[in-house]
Amino acid sequence: MLAPTKASISKTREETIITWYEEVFPLAAAHIHRNGGDLDAAKEIFQEAVVLYYEKLMHLNFQPESGDTAYLMGIVKNKWLKYCKKFSTQESLDYIEVAEESIQKPVKAKLLHYLKQAGEKCMDLLQSFYYEKLTMRQVADRFEYASERSATVQKFKCLEKVRYEVKRKSLSHEDFLN
């Protein structure tokens, strides 16, 4: 089997998301419309559901027994209920998920902004391994390294750079991470 290239890896993800939108979004939209929601709410809820479901598949090697449609619709219905409850207290949907809330702290967002400026290529490489859970072979192909070994060395160089920047920025801004 051919190793996936940079284009094919990201194409697969994009194609997966498009398929979910084409197949499940109409059902989600109909459900939300029936329950008093508008198109913007349906879009917001579905975006959240897709991100949550994709992360579940990536991180937990999760295999839903009931198929993508049923699982995504389950998330949509659940999120819609929470959205309705939260809406009455005027809170944004972005703050519904506790897990998300914990990583969205402003200090970390600020720090992330600095890191992106310091080296987006490194952050892209690191997230492909630690977040997307690609193998080092896939990382090497995506970033065009001659071997897994070269990609691994680069991964640790990037991690060293990020660790250094995190320390430097954190120590120069006392409010960071406290």
Binding site: V50, E100, Y131, V162
Partner: protein, 89 residues
């Protein structure tokens, strides 16, 4: 791999509980006995959190971009009409 990178790999194996068990015990002893190593572990853990956050934001941006494509480009007109019909009812 140079020494500082090997050290980062050792800390990673210790934090993520993988790799050789004896190596992990040596790393643990270093972390428990010195402030310098404790700090390195702290910054490295934060780095992992930020990488997760970065990946999460990147995925969200990609989902938004796909949504934009589906709702704004003529290629997906049948999809747009289908959705419009739902909200016209």
């Amino acid at each position: 791999m140079r020494t500082s990178l090997t050290e980062i790999e050792r800390i990673e194996n210790w934090l993520l509980k993988r790799g050789d068990v004896e190596d992990r015990l040596v790393t643990e002893a270093r972390v428990l006995s010195g402030v310098e190593w404790k700090d390195k572990v702290r910054w490295q853990s934060t780095a992992y959190d930020l990488i997760q956050l970065y990946g999460h934001k990147k995925l969200r941006e990609e989902v938004k971009s796909v949504e934009h494509q589906l709702f704004q480009t003529s290629k997906y007109r049948p999809f747009q009409n289908r959705i419009r019909a739902i909200f016209k009812r």
